[in-house]
């Protein structure tokens, strides 16, 4: 068969058609996946994988579902990595620099090797967002880390033992809850609903929905649509 590539799954050689992803190559080889397979679309981080091309020095991190196979690829999936998540009460903590010092003091042991950034499966600047976290700049940390899928490949490469995705998770929650501007129209609307000012309108629609479908169809078909 033309266009077959050699890939080494956990060191064992399989010949699989070019064009497959690492995940579909494993399935082509006969694996029934339970671990290391989640959304299959690059959002859940279940299929964290490390690979190296035979004869090359560099080690790569990737998501198996989002990465096309290459000739001579040595693949080791990382179906679980022991990230350290510290627990806290989001209502009680405050977005101060101290909270990061208390919960994730190891981030201050970062030696600046940048292995996390090189390993990131989402091409994020991981070391930079850790630097923001160290300085208590949680809004910047949140933005820089936003596309993180928490696969943990960064942490697997960290000599300081940092659980980067968990640090970023804390920063995003602090930012979302305490730092980002509050939404006035949202609070107003919740109050209006609780005061019952839409009850009559909704009740009217409910009645029509049961007793007068033609009228509600007409309302729907002729409703004004915001440009």
């Amino acid at each position: 068969m033309d266009n077959m590539l050699n890939v080494y799954l956990f060191g064992k050689r399989y010949q699989v058609p070019a064009g497959l992803t690492i995940m579909t190559a494993m399935e082509y080889a006969g694996y029934e996946l339970v671990r290391g397979c989640g959304c299959r679309n690059g959002f859940c981080g279940a299929c964290a994988t490390i690979y190296r091309i035979k004869g090359e020095i560099e080690l790569h991190g990737c998501l198996a579902c989002q990465t096309e196979i290459q000739e001579g690829m040595y693949v080791a999936t990382l179906p679980f990595f022991p990230l350290e998540k510290r627990v806290y009460n989001i209502e009680e903590i405050k977005p101060t620099q101290q909270i990061m010092m208390q919960l994730y003091p190891e981030i201050y042991s970062c030696i600046g090797c940048n292995a996390c950034t090189k390993a990131c499966t989402q091409e994020l600047n991981v070391m930079q967002y850790i630097a923001y976290a160290q300085r208590g700049e949680y809004d910047k940390c949140a933005e820089e880390s936003f596309d993180c899928v928490m696969c943990g490949v960064c942490s697997s490469r960290c000599p300081a033992g940092i659980s980067h995705p968990q640090v970023a998770m804390l920063a995003r929650r602090l930012n979302g809850k305490y730092i980002a501007p509050e939404c006035a129209h949202l609070a107003d609307r919740v109050n209006e609903i609780n005061e019952g000012i839409f009850d009559e309108k909704i009740a009217e629609l409910m009645t029509k929905a049961v007793d007068n479908l033609d009228e509600i169809k007409d309302m729907y078909n002729h409703r004004e649509i915001e440009k």
Binding site: G19, T21, T24, E27, G30, Y31, E32, L33, V34, R35, G38, C39, R40, N41, G42, F43, C44, Q66, T67, E68, V87, Y88, I90, Q122, E123, A142, F146, D147, M150, M169, R172, R173, L174, K177, A180, P181, E182, C183, A184, L186, A187, R189, V190, I193, F198, K201, I202, E204, L205, M206, A209, V210, L213, I216, K217, Y220, N221, R223, I225, E226
Partner: protein, 533 residues
């Protein structure tokens, strides 16, 4: 650049007409045109793809053939396989499923002070919620109201939804956003805190709230973090394979199976919430799917076997814009937000053939018609597809918009050499959502006492077609709702007595009597993708 040179040439046709197409405001279809289009081109209308059920509470109703095989399939156990008198887990509220609805229910149950636990066959957060890209609806702007949201959702679902469920969905929506925001979920906001909102297909106001195009991921990872912070037990890689009833026919727990060791375990509970999600991995009618690996309709099977009724199990949502090319991401979701931001659907001649924000069923049917009856699709090695002219977004909103608003899409195609800022992408409908499901009341109760359902597994909220952004909303509103009502019920329920799996044998006999007893192991739990040699 596309690896197939012909596609690069065809993309030039799209580029030539881009400015003209961007300025165009295509007409919306009339109600009659939509009905006709759906009847001829929507997959739900292909009668030979459905099977009429011969057993169970929905006997006589049609469901997709693959689902019928599971609903009328064979239990993975017999009653003799487990000892129900010695439960491995004992809890007040048992939640089956670790997605958005399950996690929301768990947080509310914990808040109510009852003992709760989540069982999930993969990991918490391995769910369609995690993959929702475009956003979540809520009528919280001054020009909008829950009543307008009601009309959009009810009409978009072809007037088939249960009105009391739509009412709950729309009136609890702003509170759901507020709840998420207070948990620390980030939303796209203006500097003054105003929510950045856009249209979705079939919305009459811009009420789509988003967190870039990682909306579901941002919500799900925050809910997961909160579940862990609260110390709620999560039993992962453990599937529920049968509901257990008590001597009075009320739900009283579930039989669990360790996905790796196959060990069987018994969980006893005062109330049970099924929050297992959808069914895309059943690949109805051979469609690819945008769904999670675990979306195999398990909850429908669990509920159906103990007598919970299904509603609208024959209506599926084919998302108009699944990836049509390249093969590595075939069927993967291209968020509707791409069209919300201004990208239009374009055929092989470079012509816009419809308004890009019709409801999903209409848009999917229109794309199928363009590729079949009208023969204006673009041929690739994977079949026909239609252009979605993404560079139009930056023509309208300026450079940098794509990276800022839809970074996941840019990354997904970028890995295969396609720069969506400069090149249009190819799309075709993909199996996306189960519109129907277990029939629930507005307190999330199924017809079986003490058995609740929430999220995609439930039916009736969206009628026969769901609008973009009403699913993330549904999992939060009804997930919380199920948690609240199941907890309250658990508080007034004493320890279940006389646990039984008698329903298995009873259902088997019904299948045999109907002559449809099969060997399909059910629930399916995971699709079978390993190549058979």
């Amino acid at each position: 650049m596309y690896k197939i040179e012909k596609l690069n040439e065809l993309a030039k046709v799209v580029a030539e007409k881009r400015a003209e197409n961007a300025a165009l405001e295509p007409r919306r279809m009339t109600a009659e045109e939509k009905d006709d289009l759906l009847a001829h081109f929507h997959p739900d209308y292909k009668q030979d793809e459905f099977t009429v059920l011969s057993a169970g509470v929905n006997k006589g109703d049609k469901v997709p053939t693959q689902l019928a095989a599971l609903l009328q399939g064979k239990s993975r156990i017999t009653a003799a396989d487990v000892d129900l008198s010695v439960p491995d887990y004992d809890t007040d509220v048992l939640i089956i499923g670790g997605g958005g609805a399950g996690a929301s229910a768990a947080i509310e149950a914990d808040e109510a002070g009852v003992k709760t636990m989540i069982v999930t066959k993969l990991r918490i957060g391995d769910a369609n919620t995690m993959m929702a890209e475009g956003g979540i609806q809520a009528a919280d702007k001054p020009n909008d109201s829950p009543a307008i949201h009601f009309l959009d959702a009810f009409g978009g679902g072809h007037f088939a939804a249960k009105p009391e469920l739509v009412k709950k969905l729309v009136t609890k929506a702003p509170e759901a956003i507020q709840w998420l925001n207070k948990l620390g979920v980030e939303f796209d906001k203006e500097p003054d805190g105003t929510m950045v909102t856009t249209h979705g297909g079939g919305t009459s106001r811009k009420r789509m709230h988003a967190a870039k195009d990682y909306s579901g991921a941002e919500i799900m990872r925050t809910l997961r973090d909160e579940v862990i912070n609260r110390g709620i037990p999560v039993i992962d890689f453990t599937a529920a394979i049968e509901i257990i009833l008590d001597e009075n026919g009320r739900a009283a727990g579930a039989v669990l199976m360790n996905m790796e060791t196959k060990e069987l375990l018994v969980a006893r509970a005062k109330t049970v919430i099924i929050a297992t999600g959808g069914a895309g991995r059943l690949h109805y009618q051979g469609f690819p799917t945008s769904n999670h690996y675990g979306a195999t309709a398990d909850g429908l099977i669990l509920g159906y076997r103990v007598g919970a009724k299904l509603l609208y199990a024959d209506t599926l949502q084919y998302h108009p814009t699944g990836t049509g090319y390249p093969e590595q991401i075939f069927g993967a979701l291209v968020t509707e937000k791409v069209r919300s931001l201004g990208a239009k659907l374009v055929n092989i001649d470079g012509d816009v053939f419809m308004h890009p924000l019709e409801t999903r069923d209409v848009t999917a049917a229109s794309i199928i018609r363009e590729c079949t009856a009208r023969d204006k699709g673009i041929e690739t090695n994977l079949g026909k597809a239609i252009w979605l002219d993404t560079p139009m977004i930056e023509l309208i909103h300026g450079e940098g918009t794509i990276e800022k608003r839809i970074p996941a899409m840019m990354r997904m195609f970028g890995k295969y050499g396609i720069d969506i800022r400069k090149e249009p992408i190819l799309v075709y409908p993909t199996l996306h959502y189960q519109n129907g499901g277990l029939d629930i009341t507005d307190d999330c109760a199924t017809g079986v006492e003490n058995l609740y359902a929430a999220g995609e597994v439930a039916g009736g909220i969206h009628g026969r077609n769901r609008l973009m952004g009403n699913s993330l909303l549904d999992v939060i509103v009804f997930g919380r709702n199920a948690g609240i009502y199941a907890s309250a019920k658990a508080k007034e329920t004493s320890e279940p007595q006389g646990l039984t799996l008698g329903h298995i044998e009873k259902f088997n006999k019904e299948l045999e009597a109907a002559g449809v007893a099969g060997d399909t192991a059910s629930p399916m739990l995971l699709p079978h993708y390993a190549r058979k040699k």
